[in-house]
Amino acid sequence: MSALTALARLRAVREGRAQPAATVRHCHIAEAPMVFIPLRMAGEAAAPLAAMIGTDPGSPRLLVVPQPRDRDLRFAFAAELAEVLLPYVEGFAKETETATRRGAEPYERCLSAPQVLVPNGQAAAFTGLLGRSTRFRRAEGPYPVHPSVPVLGRWLTFFAERAAYPGSSLLVSATDALALHWTSGQSGLEDANLAALLGWIDPPPGLTGLRAAQEAEDPLLWPPAGPATDPGFDNEVLAPAIEGYTRAPTARAVERVREAVRTQLEPTWRLVWRAAELLRGLPAGASVTRRWEYDRGAFTEFLGRVAEGGPPQARRDGAVAAASRLARMERARVSFDVQRAYDDPLIMAEYRLTGEAFAGEVIAADPEHTEGEGRSRKLRPLVTIRTVDPVRLAAGTAVGTPDRRGQEAELVATDGGEITLKITKGMGRGKTPSPGAVPAVGERVCYTSLTDDFQASASLPDPDLTPWTHGGPPEEWVPDDADAAEHWE
């Protein structure tokens, strides 16, 4: 925990209310996200029990598996889920724009993309498991399923895998998104309880955050947000209802299970929408649009793959696929951290404390300073800044600034609290700087050694040429009937 987070937690306790951890929103929140709250049967990793899903807070759709041990019923549930999710996802395919990128063919990109909102990290992981259990199923052969089930599996897997990329907003976990923007007075582990976290952020009138969070721990007032259900509820309410269905699978018995899980899901449903509303209340950070663009690109690409009837995502990453995914994830991690710092002075403050950034007032400037002679004469303005931050950057370090993003500067000298910079990039070709390009004396500026310079990673071998050090080329996956019979509990 950084010093700033520790301070914010102490303040939250003292004030009885969560403290802001960000001044702007760092995730995209769609106008009409698809809220998805899955529940699973206790004791099994991927046996769905129920789900509440929909894009309208006023009319959720409730799907249940009256007997979660029955595999046919589970896949009937998956088909129902596909009925809700697939039209929503495919709806974004209609409107596209032509996107261009440097050094590549222009391509079509959907104007918007689906966003699935789940209550917490476990629900996101469960989404992945549900995808894993459905994507290899087939409509023919042994144990056939509805044709929409394997397609659903591909999409659920896609959403869960995208969630592993820092900064992606296709699948958002409410607790993670809230904890990114507010610091509560409880531990990180306790923050994973959506009701408790919202209790700190938005306590009901007359209650402190602490009191609200304590109330949230009572499963009778606030049933767990899932996917695990409350053991008391399991024993006293759910088990008899399922038992009843097993004895006599009537419409009434199904209704009894439905009503039982509805009591568990409805409070969380309201909480997730409340979380979305709170997040939407924050102004979007400057880089959110750009990251959402990547998400839209990834979505469009996968949409094409599904439309072509491509194979489901592999069970495990091969050696080459794993290395390539790791490189993309690391790239996303670095970009997300840097972009957040540039977008948000409160995040930048963390780096100012560790000496990787500093803010201060310009006390001297030589905007027309040049280097080189004749044709190679270049404009290299000098700026001196006075700061009280503990600067730990050595001379020669390249720095950037959130105020002038196209520019790059180099630290020339540090003298106590006075730092001299030379602006090395983004000055244009003119002999004099354009007005406002160089910070003027008296202006408050912030510079940091964090930069989002993309160092492309070297190419990987073709999977068919996986070298002997990594086990040689992998076997090709051929769908067969054994896929339907595999144990995936």
Partner: protein
């Protein structure tokens, strides 16, 4: 009765036999792995093996992990084999240090064709990844335990056979993202190049260098027992071969006492009162800085098998776990010629005396990062003469309160040594060398 040591022969003979076995194994296998404990002559082996391969006339590529390692290696290689044409591949922004350019047989370029056709080409793993299709019959991969397996994947097509050399006890490679997704896969990209190589090729020969030439007789058993519990090594020198004395008198302060203890026994634990602190614990940072300053003032002189020499500030290092601690120690006023750096950056370096801020000092919890055995191993195995550890009291209790609780992943080989155990082992030894303010 004959003792075991005399049966095994002198350390020189023992180490020489291993090197001979490695060179003999090279032609017969696709890959050969050599584990080298701290200061066991890894670079010497690389230089010898390079000369050995170059003699056969086959071109050789050498892979190291950082630019400094590449430069160090070329410097030694060029000095040892002045007739051998050596190429150094580098990024275009790289400026070759003067010591490289001083060698007539070294050429530096950004592309392979620009190097002429040297017998040996040396570059970092990152640079090699950009080379493209060309294949060398031989490769030597240095610091292979610090190389991530995804880097090996990017360059493995460039060689037919390879010698992998590295220290399994140092820091494992890491990633800034969660790699749990691949845990248990034999090609897990965040594992080290050697673990992935050996999981796919379990029949490759693995050799171990048995003698540390760096660590003194006072340190080799401690480091060997804590960090290399199954494959131990011994010191190449005896207890009487090395000594450290001060030519300037002390003032009987606690710092002087700690330095004297370290000079006399090879170890000292400068123990501050127990307290939970922020990472840049001002008191501990000050103690480290004052110890370093005092050490220089006392004008130490080291005697070793290489003769007698004064220990200047360039032969002293200060190590810590985090970059902000390093910055804080620097800011607290350490003579500028002293190296102050993190464990990660001190890997592979050697000094006469080191001063270490214990990674667990003042902490309330023992996270996997701070417990990683490699971190403490690097910090406590850089010295030829003495090591002073600065820590707050209460670390054994902290360890007892935080047994390793990492989830066990299926298919992941159990890692030894266990960081928890290694920490306890080192602390137990240090307890006998405690000095308090």
């Amino acid at each position: 009765m004959t003792s075991r040591t005399s049966l095994a022969g002198t350390p020189q003979a023992e180490a020489g036999a291993v090197v001979a076995a490695v060179l003999a194994d090279l032609p017969g296998h696709r890959g050969v792995v050599v584990d080298s404990p701290p200061g066991a002559g890894k670079s010497t082996l690389v230089v010898r093996a390079a000369g050995h391969i170059a003699e056969t006339g086959d071109p050789l590529m050498i892979v190291a992990q950082t630019n400094e390692q590449v430069d160090d290696l070329i410097d030694r290689l060029a000095a040892e084999h002045p007739g051998l044409p050596i190429g150094r591949l580098s990024a275009s922004a790289y400026r070759a240090p003067a010591r490289l350019l001083a060698h007539g047989n070294v050429r530096v370029a950004a592309k392979v064709p620009d190097l002429g056709d040297p017998a040996v080409v040396v570059a970092t793993a990152d640079k090699w990844a950009w080379i493209g299709e060309r294949t060398w019959p031989w490769a030597i991969v240095d610091e292979a335990y610090q190389m991530r397996s995804d880097k090996l994947l990017r360059i493995a097509r460039n060689f037919e056979r390879a010698l992998f050399v590295g220290d399994p006890g140092q820091l494992d490679p890491f990633s800034v993202v969660d790699g749990d997704r691949w845990a248990g896969l034999s090609w897990d990209p965040v594992q080290s190049a050697v673990s992935v190589l050996l999981r796919h090729n379990p029949d490759l020969p693995v050799h171990r260098l048995p003698v540390s030439w760096r660590l003194p007789a006072s340190a080799a058993p401690v480091v060997s027992e804590a960090f290399y519990p199954f494959t131990g090594f011994r010191a190449g020198t005896g207890p009487d071969d090395r000594s450290l004395r001060f030519t300037a008198d002390g003032m009987r302060t606690s710092f002087d006492r700690a330095l004297e203890e370290a000079a006399a026994t090879g170890w000292a634990l400068y123990e501050l009162p127990e307290r939970h602190t922020v990472r840049t614990d001002a008191e501990a940072v000050r103690a480290v800085a004052l110890l370093a300053t005092r050490l220089v003032q006392r004008a130490p002189v080291a005697v070793s098998e290489r003769g007698e020499h004064p220990v200047g500030p360039d032969r002293i290092a200060v190590g810590a776990a985090h970059r902000d601690q390093v910055a804080a120690i620097r800011a607290a006023g350490v003579p500028p010629e002293i190296t102050v750096d993190t464990a990660n950056r001190l890997q592979g370096r050697e000094y006469d005396v080191t001063i270490v801020l214990h990674p667990l000092s003042g902490r309330r919890d023992a996270t996997a990062f701070h417990l990683e055995s490699g971190r403490l191993c690097v910090l406590t195995s850089r010295h030829r003469h003495a090591c002073v550890v600065v820590a707050r009291a209460g670390i054994p209790e902290l360890l007892d309160a935080h047994p390793s609780a990492e989830p066990v992943q299926l298919g992941v080989p159990v890692k030894f040594p266990d960081g928890w155990e290694a920490n306890q082992s080192v602390l137990t030894h240090l307890a006998a060398h405690r000095v308090t303010p």
